[in-house]
Amino acid sequence: MAVFLSVLLGLFCIGVVVYPFFKDRYFQNLGDASTVPGDSASELDNILRSIRALQSEYGMGNISEEAFTRELDQYRNDAATCIQHMESGRFSELETDVENEIAIARLRLQKSEDKPMSEPESF
């Protein structure tokens, strides 16, 4: 029984491990460390949390009005910069997504026609 279970488990593990090598090959963006999706969104979340905390501190009287106004303006500037980055990043992400879809469609077409094609350009 132990041998049977061991063999079963071993075969299952081998199957799971090798399966990705036999799946349809899609082009996958492995992600560059410098172009992390959602980076700006997280930064914006942090700025919004900071603004909320600042409002809370002001409401409780822990900071003066002058300090509150100064810091709120600074956070708003940071948020505006962040939103600007997000907008420009979203556009380039859309381009990448469209090009990925084209590459996937080409691969599928290649398989169905079984014709040699040139490799898609790397992005």
């Binding site: 279970l5 990705p20 492995l30 909320r52 409780m60």
Partner: protein
Amino acid sequence: MGELGATTLWMAICLATYSGVGSVVGKIFGIYALLESSRKSVYLLVLVLGVCTASLVGLFISRDFSIAYVAGHSNLAMDHIYTWVAFYAGNEGSLLYIAFVLSVMAALAVRLAPSRVRPTLPFSTAIMMVVLVFFLVVMAFMANPFAKLPITPPDGEGINPLLTHFGMFFHPPALMAGLIGITIPTAFAIGGILGKQTRDEWVEIGRIWGLVIWLLLASGLLLGSWWAYTILGWGGFWFWDPVENAAFMPWLVLTAFIHSIMVQRRRGMFRMWNIVMINIAFSLALYGMFMNRGGPVPSVHSFGASSLGWVFLLFLAFGTVVPFAIFFWRFNLLRSARALESMLSRESAFLMNNLLLLGIAFVTLWGTVYPLISKLITAQEITIARPFYDQVNGPIMLALIMLMGIGPLIPWRQASASTLCKSLMWPGIVGFIIIIILALMGITKLYPLIGYGIAGMVTTGIIIEWINGCRSRRSAFRESYPVAFARLLMANRPRYGGYIVHLAVVMVLLGVLGASFFNIQKDVVLAQGESVDVSNYAVKYVGTNVISRSDRVSYLTDVEVSRDGQFFKNMTSRRDFYPSFNMASTRAAIHSTPVEDFYIVPSENMADGSVGIRILVNPMIWWMWVAGPVFVVGTIIALWPDRRRDIVKTA
């Protein structure tokens, strides 16, 4: 079943090695299929090690004494409920438990990793797998839980009597999980550096795992103290035992980390500092595991004599040098986004908090390793006892708790002295009044006076913060006080969850001060019918029932307790003697209230029918045990994720 366990152990080694190597190769050469296959191997490890663990548990349940580990840690007389404890009672089983927990944590970490860290996740995965492979290989070659005995004995040796306690169901698993769990935030930190993610991508995942591991360690430490209090029979809860210290030190550094990571999260500062913190925590965690297994310093905790010491020492060296080498390699890329703007700011308060915590950790480390150093240098082992730790760490801890009360009142970036004084006025007044009242009551010891004053100051500061926050919401949103209270909590969970944890720290302080400075202890030998007075209690020895069981002899000692001249209650304490272990374990009779614990534990039953008894009155120690659930609640609130619309709503 033993064969299944042994086979799955080797399977796990192969899978973990493949996953670690495949992650790095796949990332460097851009082989997506290899990356995905390596990731799936991480998930498979949970299944394989789960089967391995289940095999060992099954062997215990079936009492298969052909397996050396089972024979060494159980017997026919052992209650089945202790099977779980027996599983990790020894070196081999605890290593398997650690490996299984690490596989579960690694799988969760990989599965739930946010998109920000996905580009460097392969490096983080590889680091987790390196640690896992180490434990698996040590098990396979040096401490195999499935090793067989040449001859199957008719019965096992039984479980260590000290482990047959409710606390043992949670204390060792929590501590071991906590120590090995430090691998996860370390892996994300170092993996991020390796992948050149040198900004704040790993902060959120590092904060979450840091908090989870911190809670595991805190729970383990508190439960261990409770276990020591109820079973070891000396009436204390913390001995500065080397292995206690070895779990305490990473917890201290992790406490520093979960505070300083908030600064990086909010302000993009302390980037290098946080990497250093998590590296130190990881090194201390490995040191803790070395102490537990290497046996360089004897302890009630260590797994007896072990030959694994050198192996763990080498891995400790590797686990310290390599992360720091990677840190220094990418040092220049880790510049913080902003600089410290003012010494009177929350950022500098967090920095001071970190320095104080590191100070306590360093003092504890020095006291722990000094016997080894003295033996190496002078050939004479000089042990460091409790007074050293109390006298050196005590003031630092009081300063830290005072900072805990002041820090949250200081705003980010810059505080004005006048606003800060206004915030501290009422907490300071309350703390001062408490000191005056206690002094008038006749308390002259300096530490408790200052300690209770600080406790009052911190509690008042937290309550004022809550009240001000509720008032602010009421005027802004027209909410009732209960609704304002609940929404205040939900609006800033890390902050208010942190306040709840701070309250728990104050509760621990109350217990420690009371039990350490105001306890009364009496060790007496009483003949049957004889009485002794302790404080306002009178204890009369009624008699002892002796019950012989197959593996032990139990002595149940009955006493009649009077308080202020009136009958109070009958109390029964127990002492079990295990002939096969030549060891006794005790169960103290404890009457526990928020004001004081009345504690009786037998030490020895004499041949003439008299009994040696230790009687203790421990003021306020109840608060320390109740602090445990409060820690849990506060940490869960701090961990609860913000919904994005909650963040946007009020900003």
